[in-house]
């Protein structure tokens, strides 16, 4: 009881801080300096229609490299934690109910379409909302649908690892090409910028984002596959 009182007091203090923040907040009328810079220069310098994508892939490209690395580490640690101590020889504890004819047929029809949707999302990252991370999540959803329909299916870890490491290498390789051919690491101007709104525009952004999408999709898929291969307790 004392503990709960303490918690409530703590939250009350936090609420005071938050309300102070709210009271002191006055919304801007115009864009601040950095946002104005991005709004003015993105279209000419980068050539991407989606300014958020431009910020993520080029202006703050190193952040994204770090983010992808963190995700890779997370997937690796999840795999390590869950595979350690797996007992051999003991099957899954219960009868796995089959998925039913309709769901099986529907899955075989839908999985290619979902993969296509994911590819659309990350190829068009510089024109429409979306990009590598969202597209990768959609790809992982397709893998999830496969896992759900056929619980005994084993996703090939070797394929996932191969896709993941290849995509990572290409990502870093394009970044290094930027040093050689253009202004610096992860500079997108190694390819012609093109005209705003075309699919082949914004230099290397579509390529970089496609490989980020493949990498993120492979990482999420490996997390899901590891979790689904754990045993019942």
């Amino acid at each position: 009881m004392i503990r709960r009182l303490f918690v409530v007091l703590l939250l009350f203090g936090l609420a005071m801080v938050f309300s102070g923040l709210m009271a002191g907040y006055s919304p801007d009328e115009v864009l601040n300096l950095s946002a104005r810079y991005y709004a003015e220069h993105t279209a000419q310098d980068i050539g991407a229609a989606n300014i958020v994508t431009a910020i993520i892939v080029t202006f703050r490209g190193l952040d994204t490299l770090g983010e992808v690395t963190v995700l890779f580490l997370t997937a690796a640690i999840v795999g390590l934690v869950l595979s350690h101590g797996r007992r051999e020889g003991r099957g899954s504890g219960r009868e796995l109910p089959p998925a039913g004819e309709l769901l099986t047929t529907g899955t075989r029809l839908l999985v290619p379409l979902i993969l296509l949707l994911g590819a659309y999302v990350f190829v068009n990252g510089h024109l429409t909302p979306g990009g590598g991370f969202q597209g990768g999540a959609i790809l992982a959803s397709a893998i999830l649908l496969l896992l759900l329909t056929d619980p005994l299916r084993r996703i090939s870890h070797r394929l996932i690892t191969a896709i993941e490491s290849t995509a990572g290498l290409v990502f870093v390789g394009i970044g290094l090409l930027g040093i050689v051919l253009a202004g610096g690491f992860l500079d997108n101007r190694i390819l012609p910028i093109g005209s705003l709104g075309e699919l082949f525009s914004a230099g290397a952004i579509p390529i970089i984002y496609s490989f980020i999408g493949l990498k993120v999709g492979a990482e999420f898929s490996s997390m899901l596959a590891h979790l689904s291969e754990t045993e019942d307790l």
Binding site: V52, F133, A140, S141, M223, L224, L227, S228, D232
Partner: protein, 84 residues
Amino acid sequence: MTLLIAMSLLLSITIVAAALLAIRGSQSLAISILAAGLVSLLASVQFLLLAAPDVAMTEAAIGSGLTTFLFFFVLGRVRGGEHD
């Protein structure tokens, strides 16, 4: 504009109600997880109304979709621990 503000208000009320359902300890864990997924989902509509379609898509696909699915995977494995 009033349309968007009214939608935003409705969403806010719904989000808070779903969050309260999510943390209440008296119902089954699956319902908690589902309610947390609903919080993320409606928050992503809120992001869309705040003119952030990129964030809305990320939250819908990753925050609401994948997180909920991961929770259900783990919950399926630890059925004995559902009750405190």
